[in-house]
Symmetry: C2
Subunit: 334 residues, 2 copies
Amino acid sequence: MVSSKDVAKHAGVSQTTVSRVLNTPEFVKKPTLDKVMKAIDELNYIPNAHARSLVQNKTNTIALLSGPLHNPFFVDTTSAIINYANEMGYRVNVQYVNDHKLPEAYATAFENKVDGIILSCILIDDPIFEKLKQMDIPFITYNRKHKKNENFVEIDNVQAGYLSAKHMIELGHKTIAWVGGPLTVSTFNNRYSGFLQAIKDYNLPLSEQYIFNTDTSKQEISTAFHRLMKLEHRPTAICTGADSLALNLIDDAIREDFKVPDDLSIIGIDNVDISQHGLIQLTTVGSISQQNLGDLAISELIKMIENKKNDCIKITEPVKIFNRRTTRKIENEQ
Amino acid sequence: MVSSKDVAKHAGVSQTTVSRVLNTPEFVKKPTLDKVMKAIDELNYIPNAHARSLVQNKTNTIALLSGPLHNPFFVDTTSAIINYANEMGYRVNVQYVNDHKLPEAYATAFENKVDGIILSCILIDDPIFEKLKQMDIPFITYNRKHKKNENFVEIDNVQAGYLSAKHMIELGHKTIAWVGGPLTVSTFNNRYSGFLQAIKDYNLPLSEQYIFNTDTSKQEISTAFHRLMKLEHRPTAICTGADSLALNLIDDAIREDFKVPDDLSIIGIDNVDISQHGLIQLTTVGSISQQNLGDLAISELIKMIENKKNDCIKITEPVKIFNRRTTRKIENEQ
DNA sequence: CCTCAAAATGAATACGTAACCATTTTAAAT
DNA sequence: ATTTAAAATGGTTACGTATTCATTTTGAGG
């Protein structure tokens, strides 16, 4: 591998000068600069970022610990995060983590001495949080937050759950089911509690049979769907903890010959990009702002990295209903 | 930052021994091993991957230069690539490249001395190809290939285009349009030529008005759609260069109140995961194998990296029709 | 021609690790 | 006890860069 020393020798200057040519060319005379540039070109020299990191203690790399891409929410956010970070001169190490691989994912990030970590995969009660703080490395969670309520970017999940239930209630639905995710995750937890609050406020009855807090696997969602549809008194509406869940449920519904929204109204939360597609037109609750959570989080993270500003990021974006085609007024048929 | 030297001092051993504890613990006596482990734990020591890379000349990092995630093909492949690479102990630096940012993307990959590069963004006639070969760094292209016909993984694109047209023809369509991508890209080029071949083989007329090779932007696809729909003699079927194009066209169609497939049959190529969704059920052409191209490519790349096997990868996967719900028999109404 | 500050360059070092080679310790065989 | 090979450990160096400090060169002003 050709190094700056080789270039120096070839150009007849010191390695220091080569380094200067690359970093502070304004301090080197034109003729020597040209000499060095020529040598760089002739030898096909490419500086070694790792050696630089070592001496500068800065890697220009950010670790992204994301949820899986089969959840369209992470498609939107991953894309936004990587594009913004690249724009700002950072490389992004991406890992799609499932729970039993989390420790490895953190280890990888730490060993690479990344300048910052952006992650969605944190539990309300996650012990990693303290460790992250100890490490003294900038980090931010998006979509989820830790119970300590520090360094997060989220939407107003309680309100989202509330609006979603309210939407169904106002459409006349009386039997409304909930299919969400693990309550160890702030996002689902808050969305669920918002949902419950609305049910309570509007004095609707709610039996446990109608509640499924799944592990978000396709299989368990299908199971929930089948259980719901076998109930004596079937729900006419399902509120879900996320667009990805809603899309899975709709898929199940179609395969079982239920019509959405004619037989069953389904609403999501997140307003992922694809939910707008003409074939989908998912009714959902999402951020009022155009900017997605990934975008917001990465820009805050980079501010933290560069300004060293240590004040804690706590952003909760307001939400609204996006009324599309997967929910409808209930007919008074029963 | 706490280094292996600090650990050594704290444990009362040499730095070499600390290194050994981490890399070849079988060569160190139990008591010293315990001592060192204790010190590592107490000091919260985490090895520096960059320093290791420097001395080992191996980074365990792969650069992924992908197309944008709003194309679902890259959702599937990115996911597969990252997961497989992580499984095999490699980190992945992801970049979503648009054409004018390509040089930067390569520079980043080179400066980081990645162990390999996996890329989809190469043109038939791309000068970068020679440079990549010169660099003597393992690389593989997926989905697209260079005219040199080396180190690629693709589906049988000519056959895919052919089958797609044949499918429409056999359904009775006489006026079939083509909406594809830039012909500077092998994928679109070959798919288009397959399409043309079928049209020719079945003696269908084809006017230039029905051909659009777009830049794959949403806008230009919409333009193509509108032009087609304003034609005196409207096409009853559109063959497209990719599922992402098909999905965009269908979106346009729905917004203009055309019914797919009743008013218009549309077929894609790629068989992306989401095309199977109940709400979508896109008819398409895709690989017979379950394994997606990203998976295939990354496993081949890692073989190259680890076995140093220099024989050139040339994989073209056979394809078949996935007959779903966006195409139908034409009625003899005209 | 001399002085002297500014500009330009170079020498030496540190970053944190693994690898190589040398040395010490251990334990088995005599 | 002595020898000897194996096991265990340590000292030193290299990786490729940026930085710090020292040295040389330059050119303006007297």
